[in-house]
């Protein structure tokens, strides 16, 4: 029992993330694209992380799965909600954080973490793509640039174009209209407007659960420094971003696995 390795598996709509813990240290992690077959891509992600950790896919693992389709994974020992895992993961990586914003591919979630690293409240925006990674990816395609270039361009904007924050489809039409204006709205202003739309939408979720320092931004979208900068402008203070923001929920799932190993089997 003592040698069991704690594994966290986070199945996102776009990528599947795995973290392997050895005691309190992250031994390995992996990020693979989520395929149509959830079980296969989850297995591939676990195998990749285990390979990096030089471990075998055997009975000596304790796997906690979270995210979309976590319940359908046959090889996990337990499933936990994404909010619970995010809280544990954020507390593990950044213990001072009390409010974390997770912007994933298809949803945005704001969580409040208590001093014990437990989830104390949360709010989710899941009714429209306009506050999510997929939306920003589509906008990058529309603007014919990479997400990284978008992020860079946003820093040079002198002002933000007005773009609706309530509907991804309308936002897309507005971007097209800005591009075709005479004279066209500068690209950086459109991007800054898009980022602001996402941020302002998520700020309402933050206000709903209550803003408390420190604040972290996690999830794949946290890699966009331009967007994170707008969050900082809106909060009026700096926010924390973990080194690999995509794996936070997987870290949390691994922490929960570790706790379950320590607790031992249920009597």
């Amino acid at each position: 029992m003592g040698n069991k390795k704690a594994v966290g598996l986070d199945i996102g709509s776009q990528t599947t993330k795995v973290v392997v813990l050895d005691g309190n240290n992250i031994l390995a992690s992996s990020i693979v694209l989520s395929g149509d077959d959830t079980e296969s891509s989850a297995k591939a992600a676990v195998e990749k992380a285990l390979k990096e950790a030089k471990l075998e896919f055997d009975d000596n693992l304790y796997i906690t799965a979270t995210g979309i389709g976590a319940k359908s994974i046959s090889f996990s020992q337990q499933q936990k909600g994404i909010t619970t895992c995010l809280a544990r993961g954020v507390h593990y990586l950044l213990p001072s954080v009390q409010l974390a914003i997770d912007i994933g591919a298809e949803s945005s979630t704001v969580i409040k973490v208590n001093e014990r690293g437990r989830l104390s409240d949360y709010a989710t925006h899941d009714k429209c793509a306009s506050g999510t990674g997929i939306f920003l990816q589509q906008m990058a395609k529309l603007m014919q640039m990479s997400p990284e270039d978008m992020s860079q361009h946003s820093f040079t904007a002198k002002r933000r174009a007005d773009i609706t924050n309530t509907c991804a489809v309308f936002a897309e039409s507005e971007v097209i209209s800005h591009v075709h204006r005479v004279p066209p709205t500068p690209k950086e202003e459109i991007i800054a407007g898009l980022f602001y739309g996402v941020v302002s939408r998520i700020m309402t979720l933050c206000k709903r659960v209550g803003i408390k320092k420190d604040v972290a931004v996690v999830g794949g979208v946290a890699l966009s420094k331009g967007l994170v900068h707008i969050f900082e402008e809106e909060f009026g203070f700096g926010v924390l971003v973990p080194e690999t923001p995509q794996i936070v929920a997987a870290v949390g799932a691994a922490v929960i696995s570790k706790e379950s190993i320590e607790k031992g089997p249920a009597v």
Binding site: K80, G81, T83, T84, L119, S120, Y122, D126
Partner: protein
């Protein structure tokens, strides 16, 4: 073309469904008698409506919270419109058809779905045509706008009962005046006279019903709590359809005695009670069974519903029946959140009930069509957070399943139970 035979079949189907369910074994044998009684009552309500339609008796359609005890005292057959809509949705799965008909009338999804549905049902002539339409702002703001359309659709006369926001002697007097005018209107339309002795008898019994519901609520404070998740819906329905009626007394007494036995024997509504939940506003009616199952899976039980079943005050006076009918409209738990300002007293009562019922967490069912109630979410959440009770808000609709997929609702509830477990 919908024939009168089709209309008969819709209501007949509700009667048949009630009878079928009452014959089935309820999930908890301890509540077998009250369960059977409940479905018999529901069947009898719609059977009476069917018979009235066949015999040409005077039918008054009325919106939710309307004082239908007045109709019973006049020998007029009541048809509770919203309850009939959600009963059709619950038992017959007919909501798509009636909501779509409501949309044809220009009623958008943001409008209260029971009202969209009932407008659609009348438009499709799926319900018996009433002789009069009665509606009110008591205690819901949506109903105030609904009646005229329903009157037009049914091509019948109608009466709007205006209930003031605040409770004071002057305002109760005003409401008494309104009820008197309504009685005059009904006497003229139906040719039936008000039986004041009967009304007094019903008022006395309504007071008894309030006390019985208070007793039931007291029993629900027990750990484990004996009342199943969907029980609240039955308490609502009994109060809506049978105010002051002897059959409601029988049901409430039977239920009280069964719950008392359960408490005495230490039996809870769920096998292993883990989470005691405060339910705010009403969960989707069409998901009642689905939600009951999730609650059972997680050992959760709804112990108190401050906006629907928590009666604080009784004291209706049979010697002043009209004043008592008016007074009851200020006592009903719904008046806390659905009509007029949300008072500090209401927030205090919510907090006190969280303590009294040993609540672990609260679920606010944010019915998108009830915007005036949804406006209170932040206030209620902040107030409950002050006493360390977390609150989940679930966007939903009472009748329309297209607003929020049930799997999404399940996930939100599961996450919330995890949060409670973590604490």
């Amino acid at each position: 073309m919908i024939t009168s035979e089709d209309r008969r079949t819709k209501i007949s189907s509700i009667v048949r469904a009630c009878r079928l369910i009452s014959k089935m074994n309820p999930p908890r044998p301890e509540l077998q008698k009250s369960e059977a009684l409940y479905y018999e009552l529901l069947a009898s309500y719609y059977k009476r409506l069917l018979q009235a339609q066949e015999k040409g008796d005077f039918i008054a359609a009325h919106t939710v919270f309307f004082p239908s005890e007045v109709l019973y005292a006049m020998g007029i057959v009541p048809m509770h419109t919203e309850t009939t809509t959600w009963t059709m949705a619950l038992f017959l799965g007919d909501q798509a058809e009636i909501l779509s008909a409501g949309a044809e009338l220009g009623l958008v999804p943001e409008i209260c779905s029971p009202h969209r549905g009932l407008a659609g049902a009348f438009y499709l002539k799926s319900l018996p045509r009433p002789n009069v339409m009665l509606w009110s702002n008591l205690v819901c703001d949506n109903t105030a706008k609904s009646g005229e359309l329903l009157m037009e659709l049914n091509d019948c006369p109608g009466f709007f009962l205006d209930r003031p926001f605040q409770r004071s002697k002057d305002e109760i007097d005003y409401l008494v005046g309104e009820i008197k005018q309504m009685i005059n209107f009904l006497e003229k339309q139906s040719g039936k006279k008000m039986d004041w002795d009967k009304l007094s008898e019903f008022v006395a019994r309504m007071d008894e019903h309030i006390k019985l519901m208070q007793e039931i609520n007291e029993l629900r404070k027990a750990v484990p709590s004996p009342f199943p998740f969907q029980g609240y819906l039955k308490l609502l329905t009994i109060d809506y359809l049978f105010p002051g009626q002897p059959e409601a007394t029988e049901y409430l007494k039977t239920l009280r005695d069964e719950l008392a036995d359960m408490v005495k024997n230490g039996k809870g509504a769920v096998a292993d009670e883990r989470f005691r939940i405060m339910t705010l506003f009403v969960p989707p009616m069409y998901l009642t069974g689905f939600l009951e199952k999730i609650f059972q899976e997680y050992g959760a039980v709804s112990v108190v519903e401050p906006l629907f079943t928590l009666w604080m005050e009784s004291g209706l006076d049979p010697s002043n029946p009209l004043e008592s009918v008016a007074k009851k409209s200020f006592l009903i738990p719904e008046s806390r959140g659905m009509y007029g300002p949300l008072k500090q007293q209401s927030l205090d009562e919510i907090v006190q009930s969280a303590k009294d019922y040993k609540v672990d967490g609260a679920m606010y069912w944010a019915f998108i069509g009830c915007r005036h109630t949804c406006a209170t979410i932040k206030l209620v959440k902040d107030t409950l957070n002050e006493v360390d009770v977390p609150m989940l808000t679930v966007d939903c609709d009472l009748v329309d399943p297209t607003i929020n997929p049930k799997e999404e609702i399940r996930e939100k509830i599961e996450r919330f139970f995890e949060l409670l477990e973590e604490r």
